[in-house]
Amino acid sequence: MQQFARLAASATRVRGVPRLRSAFVPGTLAGRTRDELRAFVEGDDPVSGRPFMEGVVAQLTTPLDGDDAQELTFERETPRLLEPDTEEHLGRLFEENRWTDFLPIVLPSEARVEAMLAGTSRAPDEVVGELKPTDYREPWQFTVEKVAVNAVMAGARPEYLPVILAVASAGVTARSSSTSSIAGGLVVNGPIRNEIGMNSGTGALGPYNHANAAIGRAYGLLSQNLQGGSVPGETFVGSLGNNFTYGNFTFAENEEASPWEPLHVQHGFGRNDSAVTPMWPIWNYVVTWGVRPTWREKLLEMLAAHDPGGGIFLIVDPSAARIFAEREGFPTKESLGQWIVENTTMRAGVWWDHHTTELYLRPLADQGIEPWATRANTDPDERFRKFEPGGVEIAVVGGETNNAFAVASGRYWKTVSVDEWR
């Protein structure tokens, strides 16, 4: 609980209050029995060491003093440049300040950043957007130059910068503070894929291509540094962590080998436009090999592993995609997505007993918003559709060495033009 105390102090301070009156119990609340909750209420606060309820009552009835009574107005400056130092010292400084992912970085020297900025026609001081680690934190703003700095650190080349700027402008962080440990995901579409040599074939989701690797890593570094940090106990509380956060599930769609429309065309762009689509949250990934006679049953089992509130991101090898399109009767991505929506069901009682449905959809049900209000009144043993129309996105990627297809978590947020950032 010490880290929640630290988190509360940090979040309170950036709201202009130096100290919050708070009390803590010794464990998380989700899924606890009544006896466990009662024991928390009757037990001690692990932070203060005093009985929990005694502390609660005292904090309500003790006059404000010291920091309690203060108001806090302040500004935080971010310098453009750091004090000159040796490479060794600067590398250590970046690690100590948690500006890295603890793999070696390329130090963003003035010359390297200037060279990176040659990758865009945009002015270095132009504001690109805002990022924050979660809804309740304050948004931080950043410029083209700040994005370029993080691109250098990730080992990116100047020609990747338009993609990285587009990703940054989307405002979808790859370093969420969520306790559920979220990674970002990126699908790159259009001519830029081939111009910068991205891999959409064999091993596209693995460490076999410079552009895929550097763009995905840049997405992570820029997220943590431009949003005000991703520091455990302050701006990050993901219990397990997530290994996808190193590369952020970044690939180019294999448009040439796909029988279906590219992802960006599905979302209103032309085939000759270049665009990038963040898919979020990437929690997990389940794969199977071969569009075998029982593929429908297998796919439903794979879908069963996923949280009902997070969205579904189906990743299909081109050879599997052609089998779906030509043999199995799914001429479009939308038709396969619709099959998933119609055939994936879940018992209502289980559907509502999930982290995401409880947090995001129960409040909508309580406000009478449909279809959630009706779902909230469904018999717990009745089954209904697990995913909503539009909740399934599909991308084609891979080298056709296996008719593989995979289900990742991930919801569509927006598709962003890369061309505007050239």
């Binding site: 309500l60 009835t61 750091l82 970046f94 020297s109 950043f142 130059e145 540094n225 431009l226 409880e358």
Partner: protein, 96 residues
């Protein structure tokens, strides 16, 4: 070559933090209305019910009222207004 590099700071720009003041404490809860707010984050509702039960047993002179925040990630202006109008104090429960 001095061996010293000048490098960029990789961080973004933080917004200005504007001061906010905590509500004044109360001298006593006896006979006063205390709002127990379910902040809706995981498991908070049942926990606040247990807080209410504890207060009912140990501090029966306190009038408790349990309400739910509209949603877990943002302010609930209507609930805040109700607390300001009718309550002497409030406890916001945030589960996880």
């Amino acid at each position: 070559m001095s061996g010293r590099l000048t490098v960029h700071d990789p961080r973004g720009y933080a917004p200005k933090v504007e001061a906010k003041r905590l509500a004044q404490s109360v001298d006593t809860l006896d006979g006063r209305s205390l709002y127990l707010v379910d902040g809706r984050f995981n498991g908070t509702g049942p926990f606040m019910e247990e807080v209410q039960a504890w207060l009912g047993h140990h501090m029966p002179s306190v009038n408790t009222r349990l309400i739910r925040w509209r949603e877990p990630f943002d302010d609930d202006p209507e609930a805040s207004e109700e607390i300001r109008a009718n309550g002497a104090a409030a406890i916001l429960g945030v589960g996880i």
